[in-house]
Symmetry: C2
Subunit: 519 residues, 2 copies
């Protein structure tokens, strides 16, 4: 393992978990070679002729799938912090005495802190996937044997498709499934809307297990997961805690500071001419993002226009925009509340998508680039507009990447962020961890001014005579530093605990272990 | 090239078009090895960032896709005998001076007789795909340079998936498409319902061109073909002749003989207990099959029961069964009339499927085996219940396989066929061409009696005390021979003009050139 400097000027490693890695070469610069991964050819002669793949329980399915030491086991995160299934899978692996597994979730959540015991006892060798909260902390403090690998939703699809990560066994939690393995997320106690994060797993894993707490009669339609790709179906009592899988209510922020960020963002879009008939947008399910959506809605109403499509996680606010006829389509990747689930089941214009359609950079295009404006968060940005979304300024890895990197390919990327959090400045000389190159980030909206990336001379021109508080990023940083003081750098050790992949599978940065002195 | 006898006792060749071929080993006996095909990995950096892949015309698209001598070009047959696109593709290839192409359609029709000139001048070296009518005759008489290969719909998916046929350029005619390449068959002048026959092509071809006469705004939804797999989009004036793409009206037979076959078939199913609440069936769009469906409908009404799903090509009769609530789902692979197209666009229970979901034998199961009863045709059957569906008894190759072989995996397979056609007996000592092994064919229904495969002791038992005219297959043959006389064998030459693949890619039989003496 050698430290080398990549095209973004970050010192990274050329070997991760014993495998060579490719250094980030710049946006759009790395050209993949070779062919997409093909899993083993199956034959219907090895499957029940009546299509019934039900086996007694998850342990039997894992045994039949030949769970062994060192395998790669994947799960999806549509059950978010309410997931029971991933914990159950590794409880069984532990019972079976299996060791050295690679857990490859589409993301992990605080509910998965249960798995720390298996990271400690060697059942799980490493996690490749976003780690939100306790698992991230555990990794940051050096507790995990292997090196974590964080990928965006699109990057995870890319890695699977390209054969960079070969999944031995995919365990797909399905809120509704038939005995053939057709599955969707639309009904049942664990309804989560869609199962797009498990699509690649179903297509490319060697063995696919569908676990459901709601077995329905064939055909389970729509088949978001196709039974033709499934080996075994099992019933489990409960896939998760419904109240944590899906929020009963998503709420717009009431914080005056965050409402100001949202309003400034929306006004910026209006002034720059982005909000026009037939436009498209993506904003997340965080309080500020939701508020941006509400401002967009009001502006559309005022102007008497409508959007063509909205991308992204759905919620009651986005659904109300659809049902009011202010947008033709929601192209949804993740459903955040009960209204989102209801709408996806009822409204033909509420379309479930996957990281393949929306984000995979090693496809023949994807939807991300077609979105007119995307509103994203960040933990830090720097003077080159580079941004961090996974670590805090103290070096702790506490957040996942999600679709964040993928969304940077939108026509305009806006980050509404506070200028400082808990007296720690958000605008830095250099981000602690680089997740997104500055050339793709167009606008930083803070409560004390808006900075436009100098590359976007068009946006600078369109807004220069407006009432908007346009400043340079340097001005914003000076202001933050003046108020908070110059922050200390994080206290980090040499050991790399995780690598951050770019959307094309190259290494854009690494995360170092947080020094024991600092904890 | 050597003649060898396969497990079905047919003398076949072990090399086709210079490539080694695997002999049929028996139903379920061949175990595939290796991995599914992976086409080259693409990168979004090579595609327009705004997702607009429109190029000026089809020639430009073919040139950009680097059309060259010896390539494999695929098309689909959802436009049936109204297709203009395949002819246009090869007109351009001819203009460009390209030679030695393999045309790989999902099927060809009489409208493609236009291409005989290109088979003669070497633009096209061979056709791999079903040949209905004039092209089949041309091949039978030895006109084609290479050897034809006929595959079932599922077998075509299998061959593409397994890398047995690598498609260089897929040209997909799309009744509706956006500039990103998302496409469906639901609207526009060329509406054909669905595009399932082109699914494999879109997934596995190196280059994919979507041609449309109805460009719609992004997103074209549902995306039966996903734009993420598409290289170029072109507009053409007309994809085909709407009156030949989709019938305005499908008609039930009025022939008393064929109505009798249909009624006997339905009564057999009723007597054998196949028509019960929640059952499933598939019957085609031919006049007799349609009539069987109508008898099923009446029986369901009488009994006050309903079917869970109907598989297969949809038409106004099947739609009326759905809309009357007598079946929950139509799992449709091919839409035959305007009512079918309307229903697919309107009814959530009218579901588009593909050869992947329905028929691919090299998947982890498929839908075919779940169907309780399927009604199919045949040109010949023999005393072992083997059946032929591609050649006439004079050896002429005039029909495609379609999904016929795949449907044989249904729980009960019934062939309602006349005992003789034009005084040529349909029940033979040995079929001219073997398409389906007798062990999968359960019942032969003729106007002079019903023969049950001795393997199906259950059906024999269930119907033995009924009023149905149950006979042995030998009795049926004697009766036909008594009326028509013992037929002469076909007059064939040694040269093999086409091979018939089984659902697993093995060679089940070959078709010989028809002797010049016989023409």
């Amino acid at each position: 393992m050698t430290y080398l400097t990549n095209a973004a000027g970050r010192s990274v490693i050329n070997e991760i978990n014993g495998e060579p890695s490719i250094l980030f070469k710049g946006v759009g610069k790395f050209k993949p070679e070779g062919n997409k991964h093909g899993p083993s050819i199956a034959s219907c002669s090895d499957y029940p002729s009546d299509g019934n793949k039900l086996v007694n329980d998850l342990r039997e399915a894992l045994e039949r799938a030949d769970l062994r030491d060192g395998m790669t086991i994947s799960t999806h995160h549509h059950f978010r912090n309410g997931d029971f299934l991933a914990n159950l899978v590794f409880d069984i692996a532990h019972e079976m005495g299996v060791k050295g597994l690679r857990w490859f979730p589409s993301a992990s959540f605080p509910c998965h802190a249960h798995l720390i015991q298996y990271l400690e006892d060697g059942t799980i060798q490493r996690i490749e996937g976003s780690m939100n909260g306790p698992l991230g902390k555990f990794v940051s403090e050096g507790g995990m044997m292997g090196t974590g690998v964080l990928r965006s939703h699109g990057g995870r699809y890319q890695a699977i498709q390209d054969g960079e990560v070969k999944i031995d066994i995919a365990v797909i939690g399905a809120p509704a499934a038939d005995t053939f393995g057709n599955a969707n997320g639309l009904s049942g106690d664990s309804a989560c809307g869609l199962l797009g994060f498990a699509l690649a797993d179903s297509q490319y894993a060697e063995k696919v297990i569908v676990a459901t707490d709601n077995l329905v009669e064939f055909p389970c339609f729509p088949w978001q997961i196709q039974g033709n790709l499934v080996d075994y179906v099992v019933e489990v009592e409960k896939l998760g805690d419904p109240s944590l899988i899906i929020s009963g209510t998503t709420q717009i922020t009431r914080s005056p500071d965050r409402l100001l960020l949202a309003e400034l963002t929306a006004r910026f879009c209006e002034t720059a001419g982005i909000i026009r008939d037939g436009f498209s947008f993506q904003s997340g399910a965080g309080g500020t993002s939701l508020a941006v959506g509400e401002y967009f809605k009001n502006i559309m109403r005022e102007k008497g226009i409508k959007a063509r499509f909205a991308r992204g996680g759905s919620n009651k606010y986005l659904v109300s925009i659809l049902e009011e006829g202010l947008v033709d389509y929601i192209l949804d990747g993740q459903t955040f509340d009960l209204e989102g689930v209801r709408s996806m089941a009822e409204n033909p214009g509420h379309v479930w998508t996957s990281p393949f359609t929306s984000y995979n950079y090693h496809g023949k295009g994807n939807f991300a680039g077609m979105v007119d404006v995307v509103i994203l968060g960040a933990t830090e940005v720097d003077l080159q507009f580079n941004a961090n979304v996974v670590t805090h300024s103290d070096g702790y890895l506490l957040h996942g990447i999600g679709g964040w990197q993928n969304c940077l390919f939108s026509k305009t990327v806006i980050l509404p962020i506070p200028l400082f959090r808990d007296r720690v400045p958000v605008v830095r000389d250099r981000v602690t961890t680089l997740c997104g190159p500055g050339e793709l980030i167009d606008v930083i909206v803070t409560e004390r001014g808006i900075a436009i990336n100098p590359l976007r001379t068009d946006l600078i021109e369109l807004t220069k005579s407006s009432y908007l508080p346009i400043k340079t990023i340097e001005e914003l940083k000076s202001e933050a530093d003046r108020i908070c003081g110059i922050p200390d750098p994080p206290d980090l050790e040499e050991r790399v605990v995780a690598a951050i992949k770019w959307v094309d599978g190259t290494v854009i940065d690494v995360v170092h272990q947080v020094s024991a002195r600092h904890r």
